[in-house]
């Protein structure tokens, strides 16, 4: 459980989709002019990520991974469909977005009013496909971990876009050099925010404090229990 929680927190801060990997920058730059629309798009991203990543996780583990087909019988165990993963992931994302759009429109018209126009934009938002690809690359061991990662990434993205939208609303009243106005200053601001977010990288997520009966868990751990609380954020070091 603790591990799941740390995946979740990590996905929000130190592995933030925008500030650490620049995923979903297109819509991030295009839809961050006002806080209101940013909140809408951010919420839609959280929603879609949390839905698509677990689906893609199942797809990856029961269809695409080498040996994933073994549930169909021994003779299928040797098949490796992983070369199809990009196409499958993007197809899943596109169709789920479509499906979600229809369902939301039918059953929650109020929500549709708020999210509706953003949903189609999301199919080509890199952070959604990026979520699926990172899930595949990091090979989360349970669907719960994968979902926690997806939800955390979504929240991270939400925080990023709402924060930049708020700054952009304010910066309209500042004297930005003319050639930097709009896009240029947004890039630089995002860069500076990214630098700030890097300091989350040094956080000790407490993985070192596993109970001693779970000795095996230390396999994934890089911290030593002897570390004191104060040294846990080593901002200046990395």
């Amino acid at each position: 459980m603790q591990e799941t929680l740390s995946i979740f927190v990590k996905a929000i801060f130190s592995e933030n989709m925008i500030f650490a990997y620049f995923l979903g920058m297109c819509s991030y730059l295009a839809v961050s002019k006002t806080v209101k629309t940013a909140v809408g798009l951010g919420a839609a991203v959280i929603f879609v990520l949390t839905v698509t990543v677990p689906v893609n996780y199942l797809l990856e583990n029961y269809l695409l991974k080498p040996g994933a087909l073994s549930w169909m019988g021994e003779e299928y165990a040797q098949y490796d469909l992983s070369f199809l993963s990009f196409i499958m992931f993007i197809a899943v994302v596109a169709s789920i977005v479509q499906l979600v759009e229809m369902l939301v429109e039918k059953f929650a018209p109020a929500l549709y009013g708020a999210l509706g126009i953003f949903l189609p934009l999301i199919a080509v938002n890199c952070s959604i496909l990026g979520g699926a690809l990172f899930m595949q690359e990091r090979q989360y061991s349970t669907i719960l971990d994968a979902t926690a990662f997806a939800f955390g990434s979504g929240i991270g993205w939400f925080i990023a876009i709402v924060a930049i939208a708020a700054i952009r609303e304010k910066i309209r009243y500042s004297h930005v050099p003319a050639p930097l106005r709009g896009l240029g200053i947004t890039f630089i601001l995002t860069g500076l925010m990214g630098v700030a977010f890097m300091s989350f990288g040094g956080i000790n997520y407490g993985e070192g404090k596993e109970k001693s009966d779970k000795k095996d868990k230390t396999s994934e751990v890089h911290s030593t229990p002897s570390k004191t609380q104060t040294s846990q954020i080593e901002v200046t070091n990395q």
Partner: protein, 227 residues
């Protein structure tokens, strides 16, 4: 993708007519996909730490935009409009898989470094943007040039960012140590020069792009936004 379809009339004109040349040269400067059209920043900036990664990424994107544009342009009259987006996605995804497999087979070390970012070419907005805005309405040849131009504009920007970051951040270009050895303290390092480690951190890529935009827009006032 809200741009209106740009039509290029090209009956009977030479292959490299002025208009066609413009398709290539425009995206390099005044209509650069990254700094002006604001497309496709997503997948790329994380891999601009080293120049050769940036070049391979740039070449992959050029290949995918070109081929994607050509294929879609050839199919443009028979693609049912209702499933247009998904058809485009499928074709782009297939092309990206081809690139990914070829990289994994012939450039394994680079392919490992690029990891998920090759896959993310699929959702690179440049590609979908050009397919929707150009290839759906133009013949294959202009589409090919348009794809090439936009891919090149993108690759060029990646290259510039990567050169700055690798040279100032790691003191090397293409992995060759330009300023001497930072550990043995030879060359420039012997007089106290140190690498700017900030530049190898991902956020600096954004700041460099911001500065490039600044330079570009102060030279071309037409591009300046009024907030």
């Amino acid at each position: 993708m809200s741009e209106t379809v740009e039509k290029v009339k090209a009956p009977g004109e030479p292959l490299f007519s002025k208009k066609n040349r413009k398709l290539i040269t425009d995206p390099l400067t005044d209509n650069n996909p990254v700094t002006v059209q604001v497309l496709g920043i997503c997948s790329a900036l994380a891999i601009t730490v080293q120049v050769n990664q940036a070049i391979v990424m740039g070449l992959s994107v050029i290949f995918v935009t070109m081929m994607g544009n050509v294929v879609i342009s050839m199919l443009r009259n028979i693609i049912p409009s209702r499933i247009r987006i998904i058809v485009q996605l499928v074709i782009v995804a297939a092309l990206v898989i081809i690139v990914d497999q070829i990289l994994a087979a012939f450039l394994p070390d680079l392919s490992e470094k690029l990891s998920v970012f090759v896959g993310l070419i699929i959702t690179n907005c440049i590609i979908m943007g050009r397919l929707e805005a150009f290839a759906m309405g133009n013949k294959p040849w202009p589409s090919l040039l348009d794809g090439f131009g936009n891919g090149l504009g993108y690759a060029g920007l990646l290259f510039i960012v990567a050169v700055v970051r690798e040279l100032l951040g790691s003191g090397s270009l293409f992995g060759f140590k330009i300023f001497g050895d930072s550990i043995e303290k030879t060359g420039l390092y012997s007089v106290g020069y140190v690498n700017n480690n900030l530049l190898v951190l991902p956020p600096m890529a954004l700041i460099i792009v911001g500065i490039i935009i600044w330079v570009q827009r102060s030279r071309n006032k037409a591009l300046i936004e009024d907030h």
